[in-house]
Symmetry: C3
Amino acid sequence: MTMFEKLMPKSDDFFSDFEAQAATVVAGTKLLHDLLQDFTDVPAKCQAIKDIEHRADDITHRAFARLHTQFITPFDRTEIHRLLSRIDDVLDLADAAAERLGLYDIESVLPESRELAAVLVAQSEKMVEAVKLLRTMKKDPRAIIEACKEINVLENQADTLTRKTMAMLFKRGNDPLTVMKWKEIIDLIESATDRVEDVANVIEGVVLEHA
Amino acid sequence: MTMFEKLMPKSDDFFSDFEAQAATVVAGTKLLHDLLQDFTDVPAKCQAIKDIEHRADDITHRAFARLHTQFITPFDRTEIHRLLSRIDDVLDLADAAAERLGLYDIESVLPESRELAAVLVAQSEKMVEAVKLLRTMKKDPRAIIEACKEINVLENQADTLTRKTMAMLFKRGNDPLTVMKWKEIIDLIESATDRVEDVANVIEGVVLEHA
Amino acid sequence: MTMFEKLMPKSDDFFSDFEAQAATVVAGTKLLHDLLQDFTDVPAKCQAIKDIEHRADDITHRAFARLHTQFITPFDRTEIHRLLSRIDDVLDLADAAAERLGLYDIESVLPESRELAAVLVAQSEKMVEAVKLLRTMKKDPRAIIEACKEINVLENQADTLTRKTMAMLFKRGNDPLTVMKWKEIIDLIESATDRVEDVANVIEGVVLEHA
């Protein structure tokens, strides 16, 4: 089974879509973290992230198309639409960060960016957990709420880390264009962690309403 | 009939409001594109965009006021509110970009910015199409979904273009303040294309729920 | 009664939570304004803002927890969730601005930033007003809508001020890193004013639907 087969939804229901999307987010953010750990073969590594992002788009678009035709849905159509969109956003931003790493003639990696990417990976893994629990949300709503809370805690860590990284970047006597490039990359990774928090908020809302 | 008369809603219903708003977006984004094509008479051209933006605000505020008093609405009040707000956002951002072009002592136009503005104009024209189809959404929901999809495709183009433009900007040996100014202008135009995508998403949601 | 006691919700209902949250926003944004007026004892002043922000988080999290267990709510659970989240965002951004003022080795305060912070304080005070009127929204919906409109007017002022401040910053011959630091701080304060506008929009939506 290739990685891409592993990333396809297991069956034709929205819970499988959420799970497949979340799995692509973990795969993509791990590759971003790897790229920052070992900054070689940059174009190939960026391409690998983009490939996963395209795969994620396929999953999202197929799920959207099913929303139009399927008569009964497990919860509100608008909430399903929102959840699919927000999970999709996370990988878009991770991919945008990777693309800039490829485009901007970066010479050396800002060490703090690795730590930030690691928080994004940890958050994405928690998101997989939360999304898997959605199938049985009436049985154990508190477990989902708990996972969402942990995502929020990680988002706060990402926020603090981002501020410290920026302070470091300004202090180290880097040239302004280098600061600008890294500020953009750091902001994109941090925005990705914000979007995982948005996913957690949508999930929390769904649980509040339906469980 | 003056341009401003042409930009007024044809009658007192929300579909006319959406159409009038979308028409102001096309008019305003076209002026932004013209300004970038021919960077002369900058203050007058910026003022023309701001005038249209004020006209759009009038349309939006009148529509909001009607939302309070009108008993029956063609679909959910909250969705109408959201749609009016998101369309309004597009022109706000185009105007913000134009204003910065006027304020920042820009000496010469970044060529790639014209291409990005052209994508925004194309998207705005698709938005007019989608908004016009809303009146008869039950008759042909797929045509609306199709227009929304094309808006999303254009947004992806804008995204790619933005990244390439930024890479160019860093490579060309511009001074840091010039890079910063253009980064902000480019980001604003790109955000405008994101807001058109938001409009498409709201419209898609309305169609999913009501058509 | 200490300041922190004053900032606690008066009783166990969501209206008290909104009021307590809004009071923390006023307290926090006033401290931000004070810090910009008198840029001494910076670490202590930043810490005071962070303390209020933590207090606000406590209020928000307790209110979220109650949303799970309380059977009857004064209006839609999702709207309550959204309102709690958006009010919380305002202070997060004000705190982020203050934190950067502490972290970035700022030598002297950009005078225009004080004016912008003053607009944020004025907006926050209007938000307190709007939030207090929510208890009796059926009695006087127009007063709430009026307060929301004034918040929007102030947001427009903040927007204009931000653009002029940025133009000034570029013109004054500041070094690029200084421009970058202040651009970030100004953007954060401006985003805080955007979030107050979001709060106003959520409130307007609630009033449209329930009053």
